[in-house]
Symmetry: C2
Subunit: 333 residues, 2 copies
C-alpha cells in the first residue's frame, strides 16, 4: 500500500495526498476530508525509508554504550530512549564492549543508515573517539558524549563531575571522624581516573597527606572488592574507611570484610558510587554517590536534538553528583 494507491482511491494526485499526510496546507478542506477518509479505512503507513530517501532524515539516533547490562548504562540508555521516543526518534542500541573494532563497525553501520545523531555513553569513548579509525566517522553527524569529552568539531559533552563526587564521599567520612581512608580503584577509564583524582584532591584539601599510597587498584566487580579488602586487611595497615569507585566494588568489600569478621559500619565504613540498586540490596545498605544518569541522559538528548534540528545549541553541561547516605558509613570510634 503506497501513496499512489491512496491517491487513486481518493481520486487525487499523490502530491495532494502527500500534502494532507504532512499537513502542509494548500488543500481545500473538502479534498482533505476526502483523502483523510480513504486514509482512515486503508491502514496505509507511509514508508519512513522512502521519506528518508528524499528528506535525508530517518528520525533515528544511535546510542553506543559498553554494555547495556551494566545498570548505570541501562539507566542512561533507558532515559535516552524514552526521551527520544517522545520526540519521534527511534533509538538503535549498540553494545560495543568498549572495543575499538566493534565501535568502528557500529559507527560505519550507523552512518550507512544515515542516523541523525549519535550519543556515546561512558568515558571509554574519550579515548576511543581519538583513535584515527574512529575520528573520521565522528564528524559526519552530530555527536554527544554522555559522561565523556571529545575535542571534535561536531561533538558536545554532558559531563559528571566525578572529582567532586568522590570528594563528597571523602568529606562525608572525614566529618564522621575518619582519617585513615583508602580508595579502591577498579577501572581505567577517564571517569575512573577522575574519581581517583577526586580522592587525592579531597584528601589533600582535608590535610591528609600521602593519599597516593591509599589508592589500591583492583579488578572490577564483587571479586575485586573482596580481594582488595582482604589484602588491605592482611597488610596490617591501619584503616577505618574505604571509598570505592563503584557500588559493585563496595559490595565486594562488604563481603570481604564480613568474611573476615570485620563489622560495617562499626569497625570500618564503606562507600560506593553510582547509587545503583545494588547499594540498596546489599547489607548494610551502601552510602553512595548519586551521579544522576537520568539527568545526564536528558541533557544529552536535549543537546543532541538541538544539534540535529539546528535550533539553539546548548553549551556542554557539567553535573554535580550528590551523596546518598546509607548504613555502611558511621562515626569513627
Amino acid at each position: 500500500m503506497t501513496i499512489y494507491d491512496i491517491a487513486k482511491e481518493a481520486g487525487v494526485s499523490i502530491s495532494t495526498v502527500s500534502r494532507v499526510l504532512n499537513d502542509k496546507g494548500n488543500v481545500k478542506s473538502e479534498t482533505k476530508k476526502k483523502v483523510e477518509a480513504v486514509l482512515a479505512r486503508s491502514n496505509y503507513a507511509p514508508s519512513a525509508i522512502a521519506r528518508g530517501m528524499t528528506g535525508k532524515q530517518l528520525q533515528t539516533v544511535a546510542v553506543l554504550t559498553v554494555d547495556i547490562r551494566v545498570p548505570h548504562y541501562a539507566r542512561t540508555a533507558y532515559t535516552i530512549e524514552r526521551e527520544f521516543s517522545r520526540k519521534g526518534y527511534d533509538v538503535t542500541l549498540c553494545n560495543t564492549g568498549g572495543e575499538l573494532k566493534e565501535t568502528v563497525r557500529y559507527l560505519r553501520s550507523m552512518l550507512e543508515k544515515q542516523v541523525d545523531g549519535l550519543i556515546l555513553v561512558g568515558s571509554v569513548f574519550n579515548e576511543l573517539g581519538q583513535n584515527p579509525e574512529v575520528k573520521p566517522l565522528l564528524k559526519a553527524v552530530p555527536v554527544v558524549l554522555a559522561n565523556g569529552k571529545l575535542n571534535l568539531p561536531y561533538s558536545y559533552s554532558v559531563l559528571v563531575d566525578d572529582v567532586y563526587g568522590v570528594g563528597l564521599s571523602v568529606q562525608h567520612l572525614y566529618q564522621k571522624g575518619h582519617r585513615d581512608i583508602y580508595y579502591f580503584k577498579d577501572m581505567d577509564t577517564a571517569s575512573a581516573q577522575a574519581k581517583r583524582d577526586g580522592f587525592l584532591r579531597a584528601m589533600e584539601t582535608l590535610g591528609l597527606p600521602g593519599a597516593e599510597k591509599h589508592v589500591l587498584e583492583t579488578t572490577a566487580g564483587i571479586e575485586g572488592g573482596s580481594k582488595a579488602a582482604l589484602e588491605l586487611l592482611h597488610s596490617g595497615r591501619a584503616f577505618s574507611a574505604i571509598v570505592c569507585g563503584e557500588d559493585l566494588t563496595a559490595v565486594g568489600v562488604l563481603k570481604g570484610l564480613a568474611q573476615a569478621g570485620v563489622r560495617v559500619p562499626q569497625d570500618v565504613s564503606v562507600t560506593g558510587y553510582n547509587n545503583s540498586a545494588y547499594a540498596r540490596i546489599c547489607t548494610p545498605q551502601l552510602t553512595t554517590i548519586d551521579n544522576k544518569p537520568e539527568l545526564v541522559a536528558m541533557l544529552s538528548v536535549q543537546l543532541l536534538s538541538s544539534l540535529i534540528e539546528k535550533t539553539d545549541v546548548y553549551s556542554s553541561g557539567v553535573i554535580q553528583p550528590e551523596l546518598v547516605p546509607g548504613e555502611s558509613s558511621a562515626d569513627y570510634r
Copy 2:
C-alpha cells in the same frame, strides 16, 4: 558522496560500482581493482536507506521490552542485540513500559521504518498482542516472542518453562525437609501466573495440600517482599520456607526477616527467581532459578532470522530452567 561519484571517478558505470560493492561477480578483476582503489580513498559509504528503497530490507529489527533497566530484560536485550549485530542487523530498542498505547506507537513507527522483524521480550506481550489495536500490526513482519506466546500467523515463541522452574525451588526445599512452604507472587503477567501454577502443582505432587492458601500476593520490588514477609510473620502462620517469583522480592524477604530478627537460612529458607546479580549481592546469597535469558535470546534470534531470511523455520522451543543453590536455603530443623 554517492555511487555516481565513485563511478565517474573510476570511469565506469554505476552498475559496475554496485557490482563490486555487492561482490556480484561479472566484473573483470582489473576493473574491480580500479573501482576498489577509488572506493578505498573516498570514504564513501553506501546509503542503507537507498538500498532499503529497492531491496525492501533495512537489516534492522526491533526489540520491544517493558523496561531495559530490569536486569533480566537487559540481559535478554543485550544478547539479542549482540547476536543480530553479528548477523549484520541493527537493533532498535523500545521500552514500552508494558503499556498498550506505547506498544502501539512503537509498532507503528517500526513498521513505517520497515523493520525486518520484531522480538517481543516478556510475557506481558501475550496479552497485549491479542489486543485488537495491536494484533493487525503484528502480521506485517515476522514476530518472535521471547518468553511469551501468541497465537498469530507470523509469530513464533521461545518459552521458558516457569512451571517447572518454580517446581525446582519447591522440590529443593522439600528435599531439605521443609513442608510449610509459602509462595510470594508479585506480578500479573502470564509468566507470573505460570510460576504460581508451578508452585501449586509442585506442592500437590509432593502431597502438600491446601497450597492455594500458601500463595501471597504482594507488590513488586524489595518493598513488596519485605511487607509480605512481615505480614506472614505477624499472621502467626507456621512456615519454614518462602519461594519468591523474583529475586528482588526475595531480597525484600531477606530484609524483612532480618528486621524481625529471623535468621536465614537457620530459621527460614528463602528462594528467588532469575539468577540475577541481585541474588549474589544480597546476604545471604540467594538460592535461585536460572531461567537462562541468554539462551532464550539466542534461540529467539535464530528463530527470527530464519523467519526473515526464509530459511528453514525452527519450531518454537521450550527452555528448562535450572536451580542455582545459594546460602539462603538449608535443611529444615
